[in-house]
């Protein structure tokens, strides 16, 4: 992926100008793609729920950017890590098809939102049960260690997910095995409606590292470069064989848990404050233009490119076919390759052909 532009020797330690602009591109792509998804959701073209990362784009993009795809690094995102997925090579078209439950979506219509994987590009298809990906990524990175491959894994958990047993078992396992794993705790203040004060009595998630005997660090997750740097250090450490790091990224979930959530539980003014004072895209534009000598025109060109890409992907996704019903029965096992349709479906596919839906259903008197 190349954001071409003149290459000046870069300002912050490791990132050059191209890379800095690439970070901007991914943040903008994340935000704009989500906005498009909101439109499609309102048009009921998004079949299930829609989960936003507004205000968290920097933490997703900056952290994933610290991985090295060419070396086979692997990440496991959360619903709100659309930005990480894009950095790791997922395309807007895939995301749109997935949300719209298309037959040519990455899961052929089987799973929702960004729940899909690709071992070649290095992301593992997660499940809804929070915390479970930590043990799984412990195993992914254990395989790197056992094979002496210099690959790194990165797994995201929310402040809420740190309360799960799976998180605990997985990070402890990885710590003992010194797996090359980075665990990012995205502290965005809430788990659904639950504020962090009701999630844990500890004041900083990075302090949980102590109990696992691993380093814990904390960074401003709304500063994309800081996020990149702190994650990069953890990634390098993992690659050197020094084991697990817990990275807490401080951010804020400005939208509700999902589109339907009206955020009535949020103290008045809190969202407004974050959006006006601490928007990661605004902050980054300021840095780019004020300290990195990037012109407004340059950014506009990138914005335009993002819009064009999303427009094109939307057209393609909308034109994508629905899944073939019978495909639902394929691939539960490697062998047998499919399960047969049940006996009363022999010769018919009526539930689908007639597109039988549940209208009327439930209007009976009990």
């Amino acid at each position: 992926m190349a954001v071409t532009s003149a290459s000046k020797p870069a300002a912050p330690p490791a990132l050059n100008r191209d890379q800095l602009l690439e970070l901007y591109y991914y943040m903008r792509l994340t935000r704009s793609l989500e906005e498009r998804l909101v439109n499609l959701y309102r048009q009921t073209k998004v079949v299930g729920g829609l989960f936003r990362s507004l205000g968290q784009e920097a933490d997703a993009v900056g952290s994933a950017y610290a991985l090295d795809r060419s070396r086979g690094d692997v990440l496991s995102p959360l619903i709100r890590n659309l930005g990480s997925m894009l950095v790791q090579g997922a395309t807007p078209l895939e995301i749109l098809r997935q949300y719209m439950a298309k037959g040519d979506s990455p899961t052929r219509g089987r799973e929702l939102n960004i729940h899909f994987g690709d071992t070649v590009r290095g992301f593992i298809g997660q499940i809804s049960h929070l915390g479970d990906m930590v043990p799984v990524m412990a195993g992914v990175t254990l395989s790197f260690k056992l094979r002496r491959e210099e690959r790194v894994g990165l797994v995201y958990v929310g402040d809420g997910a740190t309360s799960t047993g799976a998180f605990h078992e997985g990070i402890n396992f990885a710590a003992v095995q010194r797996c090359p794993l980075v665990v990012i705790v995205e502290n965005n203040g809430y788990a659904y409606s639950t504020p962090t004060t009701k999630q844990t009595a500890c004041t900083s998630f990075k302090d949980k590292a102590v109990g696992y005997g691993i380093p814990g660090v904390r960074a401003d997750g709304n500063d994309v470069v800081a996020t990149y740097q702190v994650t990069k250090e953890a990634v390098d450490r993992a690659r050197r064989g020094e084991g697990v790091t817990l990275v807490e990224l401080m951010t804020y979930r400005r939208k509700g848990h999902a589109e339907h959530d009206n955020q009535s539980y949020v103290p008045p003014g809190e969202i407004q404050r974050w959006s006006s004072e601490n928007d990661p895209v605004d902050r980054y534009i300021k840095i780019l233009t004020e300290s990195e000598g990037v012109s407004a025109a340059e950014l506009q060109r990138l914005d335009a490119r993002v819009v064009a890409e999303i427009d094109q992907a939307t057209d393609q996704a909308e034109a994508s076919p629905a899944p073939e019903p019978l495909d639902a029965l394929a691939g539960i096992y490697a062998d047998p390759p499919a399960t047969p349709a049940l006996w009363y479906r022999e010769g018919v596919r009526s539930a689908v052909d007639q597109h039988e839906r549940a209208q009327g259903w439930g209007t009976h008197d009990g």
Binding site: V47, G48, A101, K102, G103, T107, G109, R110, E111, L112, H115, I127, S128, H129, L130, G160, A161, S163, T164, G165, A166, A191, Y192, S193, T194, K198, Q199, T200, S264, Y265, A322, P323, P325, L326, D327, A328, L329, I332, T339, A341, L342, W343, Y344, R345, V348, R349, S350, A351, V352, Q354, H355, E356, R357, A358, G360, W361, G362, H364, D365, G366
Partner: protein
């Protein structure tokens, strides 16, 4: 009196029991100020305070385990699983600790674990599950899965008053889609008793939860189009199961179709079939047949979900086959 939805009926049941018994309390993720993901507990915290309506960390095993501990001490906790799919995280706690507490240690464990269950809602594989079969196999637990608003209320009240742990599965498709006038007064529906949802002579459909409505639709169609008189038995309780009602319907119609939304292999229909064999084999004029979901994780896309789950047309076709046997 006004009609109540299935969801409102559950909420009413919670309110009434919390009013009645100060030992009743609710535990769960986002159930307090927010009122729960589906708003089942809306208004509860405002009425009963933060001590009796507790927002917990994201920890299903701890919610269930803590409920058990509190239950031993005389409280009557009602736990919400945000989606019932997450009850799997408390599987060990429920099957090993809770279910055995009375038997192995004489510890009373009066508690309820409830949550939105079932599919037909484009929820994908992890927001659509029907976990009843996973617990049917655990003596010490009770399982109910109501299909109507009035049963939802009445069974919830019975569950809260029960001295043992009751798993209370709520079908989320029904939450706001069905409505009825609820019986007045202290409406309690006994656990372990089935409900005859429709009388018939030619064939029995034994089912529970959302597919009760599919069965009723099919029954109407079969009456209209085939002149078949179809009986529909809504089990309501799965553990204990109402053998008497099952045997009565088999003896009456001699043909049985079992319908459930859960996957066919290992689903509850197997147990029902075994009981019918055991108790009423001589009365069977045809094999007991099953209509259920295909054996796959429930996919997200409407075309796939509709194909995988049992539909009214499937019941109609299966019933015709059985009637013609």
């Amino acid at each position: 009196m006004a009609e109540s939805t299935y969801l409102e009926a559950i909420r009413q049941g919670l309110f009434e029991e919390m009013e009645r018994d100060p030992n009743v309390l609710c535990l769960g993720e986002d159930i307090g100020a927010y009122g729960g993901a589906f708003k089942v507990t809306e208004g509860l915290q405002a009425r009963f305070g933060e001590r009796r309506v507790i927002d917990t960390p994201l920890s299903e095993a701890a919610i269930v385990g803590a409920a058990a501990g509190a239950a031993h001490m005389g409280l009557r906790p009602v736990c919400e699983m945000q989606f019932i799919d997450f009850i799997s995280c408390a599987y060990d706690m429920l099957t090993n600790y809770v279910a055995t507490a009375r038997y192995r240690a004489f510890l009373p464990c009066p508690m309820v674990v409830r949550g939105p269950s079932g599919g037909y809602v484009r929820g994908g594989p992890f927001h659509s599950q029907n976990p009843e079969a996973a617990f049917l196999h655990t003596p010490g637990l009770k399982i109910v899965y109501p299909a109507t608003a009035s049963d939802a209320k009445g069974l919830l009240k019975a569950a809260i008053r029960d001295d043992d742990c009751v798993l209370f599965f709520e079908h989320k498709y029904l939450y706001r889609r069905i409505k009825e006038e609820l019986p007045p007064g202290d409406h309690v529906v006994p656990i372990g008793k089935a409900r005859l949802a429709r009388e018939g002579r030619d064939l029995s459909i034994i089912t529970y939860a959302a597919t009760v409505w599919k069965a009723l639709e099919a029954a109407e169609q079969l009456e209209r189009e085939d002149g078949l008189s179809v009986e529909v038995l809504d089990l309501r309780s799965l553990l204990p199961m109402d053998d008497e009602a099952i045997v009565a319907t088999v003896k009456k119609t001699n043909r049985v179709l079992i319908v459930h939304e859960d996957t066919v292999t290992g689903g509850v229909a197997g147990e029902i079939t075994a009981r019918i064999n055991d108790l009423a084999f001589e009365w069977l004029d045809a094999p007991v047949k099953r209509v259920a979901a295909h054996d796959v994780p429930l996919p997200y896309a409407p075309q796939l979900e509709d194909f995988v789950l049992p539909q009214t047309g499937d019941i109609v076709r299966a019933a015709r086959w059985l009637a013609a046997y």
